[in-house]
Assembly symmetry: C2
Protein backbone atom coordinates (compact mmCIF):
# COMPACT_ATOMS: atom_id res chain seq x y z
CA UNK A 1 0.00 0.00 0.00
CA UNK A 2 1.44 3.35 -0.98
CA UNK A 3 1.70 6.29 1.38
CA UNK A 4 -1.00 8.04 -0.65
CA UNK A 5 -3.31 5.09 -0.09
CA UNK A 6 -2.79 5.48 3.64
CA UNK A 7 -3.37 9.22 3.64
CA UNK A 8 -6.65 8.90 1.77
CA UNK A 9 -7.92 6.45 4.38
CA UNK A 10 -10.17 8.34 6.78
CA UNK A 11 -9.47 5.93 9.66
CA UNK A 12 -6.08 7.60 10.19
CA UNK A 13 -7.49 11.09 10.50
CA UNK A 14 -7.16 11.51 14.23
CA UNK A 15 -4.43 9.89 16.30
CA UNK A 16 -3.81 10.15 20.05
CA UNK A 17 -0.32 9.78 21.42
CA UNK A 18 -0.22 9.31 25.17
CA UNK A 19 3.22 9.87 26.64
CA UNK A 20 5.46 12.44 24.96
CA UNK A 21 8.91 11.10 25.71
CA UNK A 22 11.45 9.69 23.26
CA UNK A 23 8.98 7.19 21.77
CA UNK A 24 5.79 9.25 21.75
CA UNK A 25 7.60 12.38 20.60
CA UNK A 26 9.42 10.53 17.81
CA UNK A 27 6.24 8.78 16.70
CA UNK A 28 4.37 12.09 16.48
CA UNK A 29 7.26 13.65 14.51
CA UNK A 30 7.51 10.68 12.15
CA UNK A 31 3.75 10.48 11.47
CA UNK A 32 3.69 14.23 10.94
CA UNK A 33 6.63 14.21 8.57
CA UNK A 34 5.10 11.37 6.56
CA UNK A 35 1.89 13.38 6.23
CA UNK A 36 -0.12 10.44 7.51
CA UNK A 37 -2.35 12.07 10.08
CA UNK A 38 -4.71 15.01 9.89
CA UNK A 39 -4.75 15.71 13.62
CA UNK A 40 -2.45 14.47 16.41
CA UNK A 41 -3.66 14.80 20.00
CA UNK A 42 -0.82 14.66 22.49
CA UNK A 43 -1.21 13.73 26.12
CA UNK A 44 1.40 14.17 28.80
CA UNK A 45 2.39 16.34 31.71
CA UNK A 46 1.55 20.03 31.22
CA UNK A 47 5.07 21.26 30.50
CA UNK A 48 5.72 18.43 28.06
CA UNK A 49 2.44 18.90 26.19
CA UNK A 50 3.20 22.61 26.00
CA UNK A 51 6.66 21.93 24.60
CA UNK A 52 5.28 19.47 22.02
CA UNK A 53 2.76 22.08 20.89
CA UNK A 54 5.54 24.67 20.57
CA UNK A 55 7.58 22.23 18.49
CA UNK A 56 4.60 21.68 16.21
CA UNK A 57 4.75 17.98 16.94
CA UNK A 58 1.12 17.75 18.04
CA UNK A 59 -1.99 19.68 17.00
CA UNK A 60 -3.69 19.75 20.37
CA UNK A 61 -2.71 18.66 23.84
CA UNK A 62 -4.22 17.64 27.13
CA UNK A 63 -3.13 16.18 30.45
CA UNK A 64 -6.25 14.02 30.59
CA UNK A 65 -5.75 10.65 28.90
CA UNK A 66 -9.49 9.90 28.75
CA UNK A 67 -10.19 13.20 27.05
CA UNK A 68 -7.32 12.71 24.61
CA UNK A 69 -8.77 9.54 23.09
CA UNK A 70 -12.46 10.53 22.89
CA UNK A 71 -12.59 11.10 19.15
CA UNK A 72 -9.52 9.29 17.91
CA UNK A 73 -9.27 6.44 15.45
CA UNK A 74 -5.83 5.30 16.64
CA UNK A 75 -4.37 5.55 20.12
CA UNK A 76 -0.71 4.93 20.92
CA UNK A 77 0.28 4.38 24.54
CA UNK A 78 3.91 5.51 24.62
CA UNK A 79 4.69 4.99 28.29
CA UNK A 80 6.50 2.24 30.23
CA UNK A 81 4.64 -1.10 30.46
CA UNK A 82 2.97 -0.72 33.85
CA UNK A 83 1.89 2.83 33.13
CA UNK A 84 0.40 1.75 29.81
CA UNK A 85 -1.59 -0.98 31.55
CA UNK A 86 -2.99 1.53 34.01
CA UNK A 87 -3.79 4.00 31.22
CA UNK A 88 -5.49 1.32 29.12
CA UNK A 89 -8.04 0.74 31.88
CA UNK A 90 -8.47 4.48 32.24
CA UNK A 91 -9.11 5.26 28.56
CA UNK A 92 -11.21 2.14 27.80
CA UNK A 93 -14.63 3.70 28.60
CA UNK A 94 -13.83 6.78 26.48
CA UNK A 95 -12.70 5.01 23.29
CA UNK A 96 -14.76 5.04 20.11
CA UNK A 97 -15.92 1.45 19.42
CA UNK A 98 -13.93 1.29 16.18
CA UNK A 99 -10.76 2.85 17.62
CA UNK A 100 -7.60 0.72 17.70
CA UNK A 101 -5.18 0.98 20.63
CA UNK A 102 -1.51 0.10 20.31
CA UNK A 103 1.48 0.59 22.56
CA UNK A 104 5.27 0.63 22.38
CA UNK A 105 6.08 -1.29 25.57
CA UNK A 106 9.19 -3.45 25.79
CA UNK A 107 7.27 -6.51 27.01
CA UNK A 108 3.95 -7.70 25.64
CA UNK A 109 2.41 -10.46 27.77
CA UNK A 110 1.39 -8.30 30.73
CA UNK A 111 -0.11 -5.64 28.44
CA UNK A 112 -1.94 -8.29 26.38
CA UNK A 113 -3.34 -9.89 29.55
CA UNK A 114 -4.56 -6.49 30.74
CA UNK A 115 -6.23 -5.88 27.37
CA UNK A 116 -8.07 -9.22 27.61
CA UNK A 117 -9.20 -8.41 31.11
CA UNK A 118 -10.42 -4.93 30.19
CA UNK A 119 -12.08 -5.64 26.83
CA UNK A 120 -13.06 -9.30 27.20
CA UNK A 121 -13.97 -11.07 23.94
CA UNK A 122 -13.48 -7.94 21.83
CA UNK A 123 -9.90 -7.38 23.08
CA UNK A 124 -8.29 -8.71 19.89
CA UNK A 125 -10.19 -6.12 17.80
CA UNK A 126 -9.66 -3.20 20.15
CA UNK A 127 -5.99 -3.64 21.04
CA UNK A 128 -2.96 -4.54 18.91
CA UNK A 129 0.13 -4.47 21.12
CA UNK A 130 3.37 -3.35 19.49
CA UNK A 131 7.06 -2.86 20.20
CA UNK A 132 9.41 -0.78 18.06
CA UNK A 133 13.00 -1.98 18.58
CA UNK A 134 14.37 1.50 18.41
CA UNK A 135 15.43 2.20 21.97
CA UNK A 136 18.33 4.36 22.92
CA UNK A 137 20.10 5.01 26.20
CA UNK A 138 18.77 8.52 25.70
CA UNK A 139 15.23 9.37 26.66
CA UNK A 140 12.80 12.29 26.67
CA UNK A 141 11.19 14.56 24.10
CA UNK A 142 14.45 16.48 23.78
CA UNK A 143 16.03 13.43 22.15
CA UNK A 144 13.02 12.56 19.98
CA UNK A 145 13.49 12.41 16.22
CA UNK A 146 11.33 11.76 13.16
CA UNK A 147 14.03 9.32 11.99
CA UNK A 148 14.00 7.12 15.11
CA UNK A 149 12.05 4.30 13.47
CA UNK A 150 13.79 4.27 10.09
CA UNK A 151 14.99 0.74 9.47
CA UNK A 152 13.87 -0.52 12.87
CA UNK A 153 11.97 -3.73 13.47
CA UNK A 154 8.48 -3.00 14.84
CA UNK A 155 6.89 -6.11 16.29
CA UNK A 156 3.09 -6.34 16.36
CA UNK A 157 1.65 -9.06 18.58
CA UNK A 158 -2.07 -9.62 17.82
CA UNK A 159 -4.09 -11.09 20.68
CA UNK A 160 -5.68 -13.67 18.38
CA UNK A 161 -4.65 -15.51 15.26
CA UNK A 162 -6.93 -14.05 12.61
CA UNK A 163 -6.89 -12.13 9.37
CA UNK A 164 -6.07 -8.50 10.07
CA UNK A 165 -9.05 -6.22 9.66
CA UNK A 166 -8.82 -2.76 8.09
CA UNK A 167 -7.62 -0.87 11.19
CA UNK A 168 -4.62 -3.12 11.91
CA UNK A 169 -3.71 -3.09 8.23
CA UNK A 170 -3.76 0.71 8.25
CA UNK A 171 -1.63 0.71 11.38
CA UNK A 172 0.89 -1.58 9.70
CA UNK A 173 0.99 0.64 6.60
CA UNK A 174 1.51 3.76 8.67
CA UNK A 175 4.41 2.13 10.56
CA UNK A 176 5.98 1.03 7.29
CA UNK A 177 5.54 4.54 5.91
CA UNK A 178 7.64 5.93 8.79
CA UNK A 179 10.41 3.48 7.96
CA UNK A 180 9.72 0.54 10.28
CA UNK A 181 10.01 -3.10 9.23
CA UNK A 182 6.84 -4.64 10.69
CA UNK A 183 6.93 -8.27 11.79
CA UNK A 184 4.30 -10.30 13.60
CA UNK A 185 4.71 -12.44 16.68
CA UNK A 186 2.69 -13.47 19.72
CA UNK A 187 2.98 -11.69 23.09
CA UNK A 188 4.38 -14.90 24.60
CA UNK A 189 6.98 -15.53 21.89
CA UNK A 190 7.94 -11.85 21.84
CA UNK A 191 8.72 -11.82 25.55
CA UNK A 192 10.68 -15.08 25.44
CA UNK A 193 12.81 -13.86 22.51
CA UNK A 194 13.37 -10.36 23.92
CA UNK A 195 14.49 -11.83 27.24
CA UNK A 196 17.50 -13.17 25.31
CA UNK A 197 18.07 -10.55 22.63
CA UNK A 198 17.42 -7.37 24.61
CA UNK A 199 16.89 -7.89 28.34
CA UNK A 200 19.81 -10.28 28.77
CA UNK A 201 22.35 -7.91 27.12
CA UNK A 202 21.01 -5.11 29.32
CA UNK A 203 21.33 -7.14 32.53
CA UNK A 204 24.84 -8.21 31.49
CA UNK A 205 25.98 -4.66 30.96
CA UNK A 206 24.50 -3.69 34.33
CA UNK A 207 26.14 -6.68 36.06
CA UNK A 208 29.48 -5.79 34.45
CA UNK A 209 29.25 -2.26 35.84
CA UNK A 210 28.38 -3.63 39.30
CA UNK A 211 31.34 -6.04 39.17
CA UNK A 212 33.75 -3.24 38.27
CA UNK A 213 32.25 -1.02 40.92
CA UNK A 214 33.02 -3.77 43.46
CA UNK A 215 36.58 -4.28 42.20
CA UNK A 216 37.69 -0.66 41.97
CA UNK A 217 37.30 2.53 43.90
CA UNK A 218 35.57 4.95 41.56
CA UNK A 219 38.70 7.13 41.44
CA UNK A 220 41.09 4.19 40.96
CA UNK A 221 43.73 5.32 38.43
CA UNK A 222 43.84 1.69 37.24
CA UNK A 223 40.51 2.28 35.51
CA UNK A 224 42.46 4.26 32.89
CA UNK A 225 43.86 0.92 31.79
CA UNK A 226 41.11 -0.55 29.69
CA UNK A 227 40.40 -1.47 26.10
CA UNK A 228 37.79 0.16 23.86
CA UNK A 229 35.59 -2.86 24.33
CA UNK A 230 34.84 -1.87 27.92
CA UNK A 231 32.88 1.22 26.92
CA UNK A 232 30.83 -0.66 24.36
CA UNK A 233 30.01 -3.31 26.98
CA UNK A 234 29.00 -0.64 29.52
CA UNK A 235 26.91 1.49 27.16
CA UNK A 236 23.63 -0.22 28.00
CA UNK A 237 24.26 0.12 31.74
CA UNK A 238 23.49 3.82 31.25
CA UNK A 239 19.85 3.05 30.32
CA UNK A 240 16.79 4.47 32.05
CA UNK A 241 16.16 2.72 35.42
CA UNK A 242 12.40 3.46 35.51
CA UNK A 243 11.81 1.71 32.21
CA UNK A 244 13.98 -1.28 33.07
CA UNK A 245 12.39 -1.72 36.46
CA UNK A 246 9.09 -2.28 34.67
CA UNK A 247 10.60 -4.56 32.03
CA UNK A 248 12.25 -6.65 34.75
CA UNK A 249 8.99 -6.94 36.67
CA UNK A 250 6.82 -7.73 33.66
CA UNK A 251 9.16 -10.32 32.12
CA UNK A 252 10.74 -11.65 35.29
CA UNK A 253 10.40 -15.36 34.54
CA UNK A 254 11.86 -15.22 31.02
CA UNK A 255 14.71 -12.93 32.07
CA UNK A 256 15.55 -15.13 35.06
CA UNK A 257 15.69 -18.14 32.77
CA UNK A 258 17.95 -16.35 30.27
CA UNK A 259 20.22 -15.20 33.11
CA UNK A 260 20.44 -18.74 34.47
CA UNK A 261 21.55 -19.97 31.05
CA UNK A 262 24.12 -17.21 30.91
CA UNK A 263 25.42 -18.02 34.38
CA UNK A 264 25.93 -21.62 33.24
CA UNK A 265 27.85 -20.47 30.15
CA UNK A 266 30.03 -18.09 32.17
CA UNK A 267 30.81 -20.90 34.64
CA UNK A 268 31.70 -23.34 31.85
CA UNK A 269 33.88 -20.71 30.17
CA UNK A 270 35.60 -19.98 33.50
CA UNK A 271 36.24 -23.66 34.14
CA UNK A 272 37.68 -24.03 30.65
CA UNK A 273 40.25 -21.19 30.95
CA UNK A 274 43.62 -22.55 29.88
CA UNK A 275 42.21 -25.78 28.44
CA UNK A 276 41.52 -26.89 24.84
CA UNK A 277 37.81 -26.65 25.59
CA UNK A 278 38.19 -22.86 25.93
CA UNK A 279 39.32 -22.47 22.33
CA UNK A 280 36.40 -24.56 21.13
CA UNK A 281 33.85 -22.47 23.07
CA UNK A 282 35.44 -19.24 21.95
CA UNK A 283 35.26 -20.29 18.31
CA UNK A 284 31.64 -21.40 18.59
CA UNK A 285 30.72 -18.01 20.09
CA UNK A 286 32.67 -16.21 17.38
CA UNK A 287 30.86 -18.03 14.59
CA UNK A 288 27.50 -17.22 16.13
CA UNK A 289 28.38 -13.54 16.62
CA UNK A 290 29.58 -13.28 13.02
CA UNK A 291 26.49 -15.04 11.74
CA UNK A 292 24.18 -12.67 13.60
CA UNK A 293 26.07 -9.65 12.30
CA UNK A 294 25.78 -10.68 8.64
CA UNK B 1 61.03 15.61 24.67
CA UNK B 2 60.29 16.78 21.14
CA UNK B 3 60.09 14.47 18.16
CA UNK B 4 63.27 16.06 16.84
CA UNK B 5 65.01 15.20 20.09
CA UNK B 6 64.08 11.59 19.63
CA UNK B 7 65.19 11.44 16.02
CA UNK B 8 68.58 12.84 16.85
CA UNK B 9 69.11 10.11 19.44
CA UNK B 10 71.25 7.43 17.82
CA UNK B 11 69.84 4.69 20.08
CA UNK B 12 66.64 4.67 17.94
CA UNK B 13 68.48 4.14 14.69
CA UNK B 14 67.69 0.49 14.16
CA UNK B 15 64.49 -1.16 15.37
CA UNK B 16 63.39 -4.77 14.96
CA UNK B 17 59.73 -5.62 14.82
CA UNK B 18 59.02 -9.31 15.19
CA UNK B 19 55.53 -10.27 14.13
CA UNK B 20 53.93 -8.30 11.30
CA UNK B 21 50.25 -8.54 12.13
CA UNK B 22 47.91 -5.74 13.22
CA UNK B 23 50.19 -4.62 16.07
CA UNK B 24 53.62 -5.06 14.46
CA UNK B 25 52.46 -3.67 11.14
CA UNK B 26 50.80 -0.66 12.76
CA UNK B 27 53.83 0.00 14.96
CA UNK B 28 56.16 -0.06 11.94
CA UNK B 29 53.83 2.29 10.04
CA UNK B 30 53.51 4.67 12.98
CA UNK B 31 57.26 4.82 13.71
CA UNK B 32 57.92 5.30 10.01
CA UNK B 33 55.39 8.08 9.65
CA UNK B 34 56.76 9.86 12.71
CA UNK B 35 60.24 9.70 11.17
CA UNK B 36 61.61 8.16 14.35
CA UNK B 37 63.66 5.29 13.02
CA UNK B 38 66.42 5.12 10.43
CA UNK B 39 66.01 1.41 9.70
CA UNK B 40 63.19 -1.00 10.56
CA UNK B 41 63.90 -4.72 10.33
CA UNK B 42 60.74 -6.79 10.04
CA UNK B 43 60.49 -10.41 10.96
CA UNK B 44 57.60 -12.70 10.11
CA UNK B 45 56.50 -15.43 7.76
CA UNK B 46 57.94 -15.09 4.22
CA UNK B 47 54.76 -13.87 2.52
CA UNK B 48 54.07 -11.35 5.28
CA UNK B 49 57.61 -9.98 5.30
CA UNK B 50 57.43 -9.69 1.52
CA UNK B 51 54.13 -7.80 1.74
CA UNK B 52 55.51 -5.44 4.43
CA UNK B 53 58.52 -4.70 2.21
CA UNK B 54 56.20 -3.99 -0.75
CA UNK B 55 54.15 -1.63 1.42
CA UNK B 56 57.35 0.19 2.41
CA UNK B 57 56.53 -0.50 6.07
CA UNK B 58 59.91 -2.10 6.78
CA UNK B 59 63.37 -1.55 5.31
CA UNK B 60 64.56 -5.12 5.45
CA UNK B 61 62.96 -8.40 6.32
CA UNK B 62 63.82 -11.88 7.50
CA UNK B 63 62.07 -14.99 8.72
CA UNK B 64 64.82 -15.59 11.29
CA UNK B 65 64.08 -13.83 14.60
CA UNK B 66 67.66 -14.20 15.87
CA UNK B 67 69.07 -12.64 12.71
CA UNK B 68 66.53 -9.81 12.83
CA UNK B 69 67.73 -8.51 16.20
CA UNK B 70 71.49 -8.85 15.76
CA UNK B 71 72.26 -5.15 15.27
CA UNK B 72 69.16 -3.48 16.64
CA UNK B 73 68.86 -1.00 19.50
CA UNK B 74 65.17 -1.68 20.12
CA UNK B 75 63.29 -4.90 19.61
CA UNK B 76 59.49 -5.17 19.69
CA UNK B 77 57.93 -8.59 20.03
CA UNK B 78 54.52 -8.16 18.40
CA UNK B 79 53.17 -11.67 18.74
CA UNK B 80 50.71 -13.32 21.16
CA UNK B 81 52.01 -13.80 24.72
CA UNK B 82 53.21 -17.39 24.53
CA UNK B 83 54.88 -16.86 21.18
CA UNK B 84 56.68 -13.78 22.52
CA UNK B 85 57.97 -15.79 25.48
CA UNK B 86 59.34 -18.46 23.15
CA UNK B 87 60.88 -15.81 20.87
CA UNK B 88 62.47 -13.96 23.79
CA UNK B 89 64.48 -17.08 24.67
CA UNK B 90 65.39 -17.50 21.02
CA UNK B 91 66.66 -13.95 20.41
CA UNK B 92 68.39 -13.49 23.80
CA UNK B 93 71.85 -14.79 22.71
CA UNK B 94 71.80 -12.57 19.59
CA UNK B 95 70.89 -9.26 21.25
CA UNK B 96 73.39 -6.41 21.55
CA UNK B 97 74.09 -5.89 25.28
CA UNK B 98 72.60 -2.38 25.22
CA UNK B 99 69.50 -3.35 23.20
CA UNK B 100 66.10 -2.96 24.87
CA UNK B 101 63.36 -5.51 24.22
CA UNK B 102 59.69 -4.65 24.60
CA UNK B 103 56.49 -6.46 23.65
CA UNK B 104 52.81 -5.72 23.08
CA UNK B 105 51.30 -8.76 24.80
CA UNK B 106 47.91 -8.51 26.47
CA UNK B 107 49.17 -9.98 29.77
CA UNK B 108 52.44 -9.12 31.44
CA UNK B 109 53.24 -11.44 34.36
CA UNK B 110 54.12 -14.52 32.31
CA UNK B 111 56.31 -12.48 29.95
CA UNK B 112 58.01 -10.69 32.85
CA UNK B 113 58.70 -14.03 34.57
CA UNK B 114 60.21 -15.40 31.36
CA UNK B 115 62.44 -12.31 31.05
CA UNK B 116 63.71 -12.81 34.61
CA UNK B 117 64.45 -16.45 33.92
CA UNK B 118 66.28 -15.72 30.67
CA UNK B 119 68.28 -12.63 31.67
CA UNK B 120 68.67 -13.13 35.42
CA UNK B 121 69.76 -10.02 37.35
CA UNK B 122 70.05 -7.88 34.21
CA UNK B 123 66.45 -8.60 33.13
CA UNK B 124 65.14 -5.19 34.27
CA UNK B 125 67.68 -3.42 32.02
CA UNK B 126 67.22 -5.67 29.01
CA UNK B 127 63.44 -6.01 28.92
CA UNK B 128 60.67 -3.46 29.41
CA UNK B 129 57.31 -5.21 28.88
CA UNK B 130 54.53 -3.12 27.34
CA UNK B 131 50.89 -3.28 26.33
CA UNK B 132 49.18 -0.83 23.96
CA UNK B 133 45.44 -0.82 24.62
CA UNK B 134 44.62 -0.49 20.99
CA UNK B 135 43.18 -3.86 20.06
CA UNK B 136 40.48 -4.37 17.50
CA UNK B 137 38.36 -7.36 16.59
CA UNK B 138 40.23 -7.08 13.29
CA UNK B 139 43.68 -8.55 12.94
CA UNK B 140 46.46 -8.91 10.40
CA UNK B 141 48.75 -6.62 8.43
CA UNK B 142 45.86 -5.85 6.06
CA UNK B 143 44.12 -3.98 8.89
CA UNK B 144 47.26 -2.27 10.21
CA UNK B 145 47.32 1.51 10.35
CA UNK B 146 49.77 4.24 11.36
CA UNK B 147 46.95 5.79 13.41
CA UNK B 148 46.21 2.72 15.53
CA UNK B 149 47.97 4.07 18.62
CA UNK B 150 46.75 7.66 18.47
CA UNK B 151 45.17 8.47 21.80
CA UNK B 152 45.59 4.94 23.15
CA UNK B 153 46.92 4.09 26.58
CA UNK B 154 50.25 2.22 26.34
CA UNK B 155 51.15 0.57 29.62
CA UNK B 156 54.82 -0.06 30.39
CA UNK B 157 55.52 -2.46 33.24
CA UNK B 158 59.19 -2.25 34.33
CA UNK B 159 60.57 -5.37 36.02
CA UNK B 160 62.07 -3.31 38.84
CA UNK B 161 61.26 -0.07 40.58
CA UNK B 162 64.07 2.21 39.50
CA UNK B 163 64.80 5.41 37.64
CA UNK B 164 64.41 4.80 33.93
CA UNK B 165 67.72 4.79 32.09
CA UNK B 166 68.22 6.37 28.67
CA UNK B 167 66.85 3.47 26.59
CA UNK B 168 63.46 3.20 28.35
CA UNK B 169 63.12 6.98 28.26
CA UNK B 170 63.71 6.93 24.51
CA UNK B 171 61.17 4.15 24.15
CA UNK B 172 58.62 6.18 26.09
CA UNK B 173 59.28 9.26 23.94
CA UNK B 174 58.91 7.27 20.74
CA UNK B 175 55.57 5.84 21.90
CA UNK B 176 54.36 9.30 22.83
CA UNK B 177 55.48 10.59 19.44
CA UNK B 178 53.21 8.05 17.72
CA UNK B 179 50.26 9.28 19.77
CA UNK B 180 50.20 6.90 22.73
CA UNK B 181 49.55 7.99 26.32
CA UNK B 182 52.23 6.09 28.27
CA UNK B 183 51.45 5.03 31.84
CA UNK B 184 53.48 2.86 34.19
CA UNK B 185 52.33 -0.11 36.19
CA UNK B 186 53.72 -3.42 37.45
CA UNK B 187 53.18 -6.71 35.59
CA UNK B 188 51.13 -7.99 38.53
CA UNK B 189 48.88 -4.94 38.84
CA UNK B 190 48.48 -4.74 35.06
CA UNK B 191 47.18 -8.31 34.85
CA UNK B 192 44.80 -7.88 37.78
CA UNK B 193 43.31 -4.68 36.33
CA UNK B 194 43.07 -6.00 32.77
CA UNK B 195 41.27 -9.11 34.00
CA UNK B 196 38.42 -6.75 34.92
CA UNK B 197 38.63 -4.02 32.30
CA UNK B 198 39.44 -6.07 29.21
CA UNK B 199 39.34 -9.85 29.74
CA UNK B 200 36.07 -9.83 31.67
CA UNK B 201 34.17 -7.83 28.98
CA UNK B 202 35.58 -10.21 26.36
CA UNK B 203 34.48 -13.33 28.27
CA UNK B 204 31.04 -11.79 28.83
CA UNK B 205 30.54 -11.11 25.15
CA UNK B 206 31.63 -14.66 24.35
CA UNK B 207 29.34 -16.12 27.04
CA UNK B 208 26.43 -14.04 25.70
CA UNK B 209 26.97 -15.46 22.21
CA UNK B 210 27.11 -19.00 23.63
CA UNK B 211 23.88 -18.42 25.58
CA UNK B 212 22.07 -17.19 22.47
CA UNK B 213 23.49 -20.05 20.45
CA UNK B 214 21.96 -22.43 23.00
CA UNK B 215 18.57 -20.67 23.01
CA UNK B 216 18.07 -20.29 19.25
CA UNK B 217 18.64 -22.26 16.12
CA UNK B 218 21.06 -20.20 14.03
CA UNK B 219 18.33 -19.62 11.40
CA UNK B 220 15.62 -18.78 13.98
CA UNK B 221 13.58 -15.91 12.52
CA UNK B 222 13.09 -14.70 16.12
CA UNK B 223 16.69 -13.48 16.05
CA UNK B 224 15.47 -10.61 13.86
CA UNK B 225 13.76 -9.30 16.98
CA UNK B 226 16.53 -7.63 18.88
CA UNK B 227 17.62 -4.19 19.96
CA UNK B 228 20.74 -2.37 18.76
CA UNK B 229 22.38 -3.14 22.07
CA UNK B 230 22.74 -6.79 21.15
CA UNK B 231 25.25 -6.10 18.41
CA UNK B 232 27.36 -3.87 20.62
CA UNK B 233 27.38 -6.58 23.30
CA UNK B 234 28.39 -9.25 20.76
CA UNK B 235 31.09 -7.24 19.00
CA UNK B 236 33.92 -8.54 21.16
CA UNK B 237 32.81 -12.15 20.67
CA UNK B 238 34.19 -11.79 17.12
CA UNK B 239 37.75 -11.41 18.45
CA UNK B 240 40.70 -13.58 17.44
CA UNK B 241 40.56 -17.00 19.21
CA UNK B 242 44.33 -17.66 19.02
CA UNK B 243 45.13 -14.46 20.90
CA UNK B 244 42.46 -14.98 23.54
CA UNK B 245 43.45 -18.57 24.13
CA UNK B 246 46.86 -17.29 25.19
CA UNK B 247 45.43 -14.45 27.28
CA UNK B 248 43.11 -16.88 29.06
CA UNK B 249 45.97 -19.27 29.78
CA UNK B 250 48.43 -16.61 30.92
CA UNK B 251 45.98 -14.72 33.17
CA UNK B 252 43.77 -17.62 34.21
CA UNK B 253 43.68 -16.92 37.92
CA UNK B 254 42.79 -13.23 37.66
CA UNK B 255 40.18 -13.84 34.96
CA UNK B 256 38.59 -16.67 36.96
CA UNK B 257 38.36 -14.39 39.96
CA UNK B 258 36.77 -11.58 37.90
CA UNK B 259 34.30 -14.05 36.38
CA UNK B 260 33.36 -15.35 39.82
CA UNK B 261 32.59 -11.79 40.94
CA UNK B 262 30.51 -11.28 37.84
CA UNK B 263 28.61 -14.52 38.39
CA UNK B 264 27.74 -13.31 41.88
CA UNK B 265 26.49 -9.96 40.53
CA UNK B 266 24.41 -11.65 37.82
CA UNK B 267 22.88 -13.97 40.42
CA UNK B 268 22.05 -11.08 42.76
CA UNK B 269 20.55 -9.09 39.88
CA UNK B 270 18.48 -12.13 38.83
CA UNK B 271 17.22 -12.66 42.36
CA UNK B 272 16.27 -8.99 42.60
CA UNK B 273 14.13 -8.93 39.40
CA UNK B 274 10.79 -7.36 40.25
CA UNK B 275 11.88 -6.13 43.68
CA UNK B 276 12.93 -2.68 44.95
CA UNK B 277 16.49 -3.97 45.25
CA UNK B 278 16.61 -4.26 41.44
CA UNK B 279 16.10 -0.54 40.95
CA UNK B 280 18.84 0.23 43.46
CA UNK B 281 21.34 -2.07 41.75
CA UNK B 282 20.43 -0.74 38.34
CA UNK B 283 20.99 2.84 39.48
CA UNK B 284 24.33 2.02 41.10
CA UNK B 285 25.51 0.40 37.85
CA UNK B 286 24.27 3.36 35.85
CA UNK B 287 26.17 5.84 37.95
CA UNK B 288 29.37 3.84 37.62
CA UNK B 289 28.98 3.48 33.84
CA UNK B 290 28.38 7.21 33.48
CA UNK B 291 31.32 8.02 35.70
CA UNK B 292 33.66 5.83 33.67
CA UNK B 293 32.48 7.38 30.42
CA UNK B 294 33.09 10.95 31.55
Amino acid sequence: MSVEGVISNPSLKRVSIIGLGLMGGSLAMALRRAGLVAHIVGCGRTALTQRALELGVIDSGTVDAGESVAESDFVFLCTPVETSIRLLAQIAPRLKPEALVSDVGSTKQAFAAAAREIFGPSAAERVLPGHPLAGRELSGLANASAELFEGCVWVLTPLARAELTAAPRNLQSALEAIGAHVIFSTPQEHDRILAYTSHLPQMLSTALALTLEQAFRADDPGLQIHAGGLHSMLRLAGSEPAMWEQIAASNRKNIASALESLEAEVRKLRESLGSADFRQRFEKAREFAKFLKD
